[in-house]
């Protein structure tokens, strides 16, 4: 599949993960989120930005526990849990948030 944004075509795999990570823009994130029936807000952006920062340093998405800890730090402990992350990204915080953040899908037994 592919995304169409401002006349440009951005290639993605069968599940909607973009194939050229360099093609990501915040506007594209908004478009992918819309496809996922997600309205981006400040908290979702925080998660997406954290994932991108972490990926830049480690070339992989963070473990869920690491993400939860980061969320707890910035949004408070009542939101620093998996359940809250699922309210932000109902298909699963890592997979769905990674897709929006333009990162590869976490693979394996996860």
């Amino acid at each position: 599949m592919a995304y169409e944004l401002d006349g440009a075509t951005i290639e993605a795999d069968e599940e909607g993960y973009i194939t050229d990570l360099g093609a990501w823009t915040p506007e594209l994130a908004g478009l992918i989120a819309k496809d996922e029936n997600i309205e981006m807000d400040d908290e979702r952006w925080e998660v997406v930005n954290f994932l991108r920062d972490y990926y830049e340093e480690y070339q992989i998405a963070p473990a869920v526990r690491v993400l939860i800890k980061a969320v707890k730090k910035s949004m408070g402990k009542e939101k620093g849990n998996n359940k809250y992350l699922y309210t932000l990204f109902p298909y699963g915080p890592a997979k769905q948030a990674c897709k929006i953040a333009g990162l590869p899908k976490p693979t394996g037994c996860v």
């Binding site: 069968e14 992989i60 473990a63 869920v64 394996g108 037994c109 996860v110």
Partner: protein, 528 residues
């Protein structure tokens, strides 16, 4: 009398019989197909990138090679007498009602072609013996239905002549790979292990950072400096665990449990960034060559680090591969300490420590849970633990009973050697197969409902990364909380009071009251 019996059944429970045969729906799952692997993923594994022009000859040749070199496979194809004992034993048939998911019918997709090209009757009187020409439609059917089998072997338990459907599925996938029709999920992942060392693609830098972070968490929560060493040369034990243990919940809670047990047992251990994966998807695709490549990584890591022992973490098919093939495909392991099992399962180790009395256990720290245990298919039906027959059933239960007070069994016929697969095993744990995963999970979910109703069970425990992820995804679909699937070693971790341990709650002020003490903490749970 008949009416009374029916009434009794209805009044006894409102829960659906987990083993009830389905309403048959021909073609129900004909459209179920996983994504096909990209050419580069196939080529990396030694297969053609795409379907070649002479695919039919190649497929038949590969089938002939397998029948010639694997006597079991040939016997399985030759001997089925269509008795029907397996028909209603497959969780995918029970959940989908598609008759091609009856194990005998799924096998016959391959058997018909084998008869056509490799038996006298099939060559000359094909119609009389159900022999089928190999066409593109047949190949497509293989791709669809051999990815609706988790190689769990439940049907084989009921086969009076011992035909192992898993072997037939593996052979079918191997033939498909040899004509360039690989499955994206499995083949991409095997390639990742070859490149990075694990299914996730978690590199050494990220692995070390994640483990350091976890060490800090454990120390914050317990006051004890428990180590999770990475690439530590000279350690006694190399832990080979599924990379999901480094990444997802509730898996990582199990990893914390292993670390605490090793700490209390006073042994030195390490994980390896080179062999940071227990899973071996080479088995799923029936490729001995690829299975061997991944096994050899473990041997190399053990040699390079100079360890004396190898212990496997909670992973179902990893243990199946390790128990059966690590020595033959990844060996020799003559450089390890021969006084210990090669390889050993983490549950054998923990059970040993519990029996020795080295672990200070307070079972009441798990009292918030009412538990049942899901036997992971690969451990239950394709391996063993300990020195006694049935150890693979008893050791996990012994450990659970030693660390918890409220344990209940699921209905007979759904546990131990007759356990139901989680529905996500054998390379099916991928989002593009969600429909068949849900259908395959339904018998187990109904069995769980039964113990929920009968005994108030709140959580199910498993020792397989795939089971844990699959159930975390499936629980909400069947009315359970996402986090009602736990790791065995998570419960060990909860109940274990380490020397010098000070629970976080004891020190915290009031505003942390809603954060449970870690040693008694429930999973925050859920897959990705």
């Amino acid at each position: 009398m008949v009416e009374l019996a029916i009434d009794n059944k209805i009044s006894r429970t409102s829960v659906e019989d987990p083993l009830a045969p389905p309403c048959m729906t021909p073609g129900a799952m004909a459209g179920s197909k996983p994504f096909v692997a990209a050419p580069e993923h196939n080529i990396k594994l030694g297969f053609p990138g795409e379907l070649p022009d002479d695919w039919k000859e190649k497929a038949i040749a590969r089938m002939g090679y397998l029948a010639e070199t694997n006597r079991a496979f040939k016997v399985y194809l030759d001997t089925c007498m269509k008795c029907g004992a397996c028909t209603d034993k497959c969780h995918y048939y029970m959940g989908s009602g598609d008759p091609k998911n009856m194990p005998v019918a799924r096998q016959d997709l391959l058997r018909g072609v084998y008869r056509r090209y490799f038996t006298f009757a099939g060559k000359y009187f094909p119609k009389l013996v159900g022999a089928v020409d190999l066409t593109k439609e047949v190949l497509d059917d293989w791709y669809s239905y051999y990815h609706q089998c988790s190689e769990c072997r439940r049907c084989a338990v009921f086969c009076p002549i011992g035909i192992d459907t898993a072997e037939i599925t593996m052979a079918a996938r191997d033939i498909l790979d040899h004509v360039g029709v690989g499955q994206k999920y499995s083949n991409e992942i095997i390639g990742k292990v070859m490149d990075v060392g694990n299914n996730l693609g978690l590199n050494a830098k990220a692995l070390k950072a994640t483990m350091e972070d976890l060490e800090e968490d454990i120390e914050d929560e317990t006051g004890v400096a428990v180590r999770i060493p990475v690439d530590e040369k000279g350690a006694d034990i190399l832990l080979i665990t599924p990379s999901a243990d480094f990444f997802a919940e509730p898996h990582i809670d199990g990893l914390i449990g292993y670390a605490k047990v090793f700490h209390e047992a006073g042994v030195s251990w390490t994980v390896s960034s080179y062999a940071s994966e227990a899973a071996n998807f080479g088995m799923f695709i029936g490729s001995e060559e690829n299975m061997a490549v991944l096994c050899k990584r473990i041997q190399k890591a053990a040699k390079d680090l100079g360890v004396k022992r190898i212990i496997f973490g909670e992973c179902g098919h990893a243990w199946r591969v390790a128990y059966n093939f690590l020595n033959t495909l990844g060996g020799p392991f003559d450089f390890l300490d021969q006084n210990y099992p090669i390889p050993q399962h983490i549950l054998e180790f923990t059970w040993g420590e519990l029996q020795k009395g080295t672990l200070n256990i307070d079972k009441s720290r798990n009292d918030e849970y009412r538990l049942t245990y899901h036997d992971s298919c690969n451990v239950a039906r394709a391996s063993r633990m300990g020195d006694e027959p049935g150890g693979q059933f008893e050791i996990p239960r012994n450990v659970l009973k030693a660390v918890t007070n409220n344990y209940f069994e699921m209905p007979e016929g759904t546990t131990k050697e007759q356990t139901l697969c989680c529905g996500g095993g054998g390379g099916l744990l991928t989002d593009d197969l969600m429909d068949i995963r849900k259908k395959g999970a339904s018998p187990r979910m109904h069995a769980l409902k039964q113990v929920e109703e009968d005994h108030g069970v709140t959580h199910m425990v498993a020792i397989c990364a795939i089971c844990k992820t699959q159930f975390a995804k499936m629980m909400p679909e069947f009315g359970f909380e996402r986090d009602s699937i736990l790791s065995v070693h998570q419960l060990v971790s909860n109940a274990l009071i380490m020397e010098g341990q000070v629970d976080e709650d004891d020190e915290d002020d009031d505003d942390m009251d809603d954060v449970p003490a870690v040693s008694g903490a429930p999973a925050t749970g859920g897959s990705l």
